[in-house]
Symmetry: C2
């Protein structure tokens, strides 16, 4: 079992309401899963030393630490430095593969009136990241920039396609790569080409499925196999880039999986990984 | 008043639950608006002859007739021919500027399992449209293909960016242009360039605003000025293409405007048009 599942990671957002970090580490490990994606609030609740002990005791690796947004309204490289520094240092302590960040939609926010926020955010995000990277110095683990679905351009992130994220990486040089969450990217007519362009810059790969209908923009994701994303095809494109790390199932599901027994969620993740994801890797 | 509003049209979807076609024609005209976008179900309910009389009596033009999806699951050029033929003939009778169509997501649909639907739909949509256009012959009014927001790629349309729609138009030749609904397009980092590329192929331009948060994927749109789309900028880009037709406010709003007095909705549309849209045209 552990061999078949060795390239599966589960992001703990998948069992966010049900399990603490300690419970998730143990629950995933009991199901034969060897890797976990972690969130800073859950890590803070557990404590870094305790998290390290639990990971070691369960022989679990950390595929990512998700920092969330940087450069939201009013933020600057200076004000974001502390959060990033801490996340990078904690990620290094945990042996995480990368720290996942989103580029916030600085300057936007709800009305009234057109505010030019998205264009302004896009115009400044490269300089903001360059400033941040230069303050951080060579990061102990790489930052992975996650492009976010266009439906969240107004409230979450101004980087909305893989090509746009790659343009940013091109401009920023070393120290930053890509977190490719296929839930955000699957619709893009240029995705196959963009994945080929990304090549070895893909530092993390996350999956879930697109439900029809989708009733919640933030947390309405489906279990792999329950929606309309052609995961076997996309997995073959990910494999073709040379990607050899884990595939992280990250499934925010307010109306369904967040209300189920976490042991069931994890068992179904493993089953669907073997059915739809692993064969193409 | 009529001069200031001469380039405003309201799509009757904006007052769909409140008003019949006859009521919408009269209600919009009373507010000084000179043009309306029409839906076939509302037209059928009214009857073509009666619609023509009401339009003439109120000196109202028709900016578009929205046919909705062609090539949904199981459809073919043969099975779509009758609907399109009828819509084109009715649009010609009404003197409409264009018939708006969406390219359906044939082959997708809800799970279980990945179905390759989006890729299959995209691979076949050009041939399907070419077949349909050849059966229709030179259309009496042009078809306008509307690219649809990526958040509806799974359930509504496989054409999700303006560039993708323009590629399709390039392949299809004459008889088909673009309906640019900026609600679907505003997030696109390549939009300014795609609008310039579109040039005189833009046959209709629709607007509403992106609300933060957006709680309804299908009918959660905002009144121009209430959201985060930079309408003055986008209107200047539309004007730069040479576009001289009306701007249609099309506002599907289940939780807000659909529950208000239609006279209020129309008055606010006119006010916001003058504030955010007309100055840049």
């Amino acid at each position: 079992m552990s061999t078949d599942l060795e390239r599966l990671s589960i992001n703990q957002a998948t069992t966010r309401p049900q399990w603490s970090l300690a419970e998730a580490i143990e629950g995933y490990a009991r199901a034969g899963i060897r890797s976990i994606g972690i969130w800073p609030d859950k890590l803070a609740e557990c404590g870094l030393a305790e998290a390290k002990r639990r990971l070691a005791a369960n022989d679990m690796a950390v595929s990512s630490l998700s920092l969330g947004r940087v450069f939201s309204e009013g933020a600057s490289a200076g004000s974001e430095y502390d959060r990033c520094r801490r996340a990078l240092d904690e990620a290094a302590e945990l042996g995480a593969d990368c720290v996942v960040v989103l580029a916030g939609t600085q300057g936007s926010g709800p009305g009234p009136g057109p505010v030019g926020g998205l264009a302004r955010a896009r115009a400044t995000v490269r300089d903001d990241f360059a400033d941040l990277l230069s303050r951080l110095g060579p990061p102990p683990v790489p930052l992975a920039l996650e492009p976010i679905h266009p439906m969240q351009a107004g409230e979450l992130s101004c980087v909305n396609t893989l090509d746009q994220a790659l343009d940013l990486c091109d401009a920023l040089g070393n120290g930053i790569g890509i977190a490719a969450d296929l839930y955000h990217l699957w619709w893009d007519p240029g995705l196959d080409a963009a994945l080929a362009r990304a090549g070895d810059r893909i530092l993390a790969c996350q999956v879930s499925d697109w439900l029809v209908p989708t009733v919640d923009l933030m947390a309405g994701r489906g279990m792999p196999g329950d929606g309309v994303i052609d995961l076997p095809h996309l997995m073959s494109r990910i494999a073709a880039t040379g990607y050899r790390r884990t595939i992280e199932i990250e499934l925010m599901s307010r109306n369904d999986w967040w209300n189920r027994r976490p042991e069931t969620v994890v068992a179904v993740c493993a089953e669907r990984f073997l059915q739809y994801i692993r064969p193409a890797l």
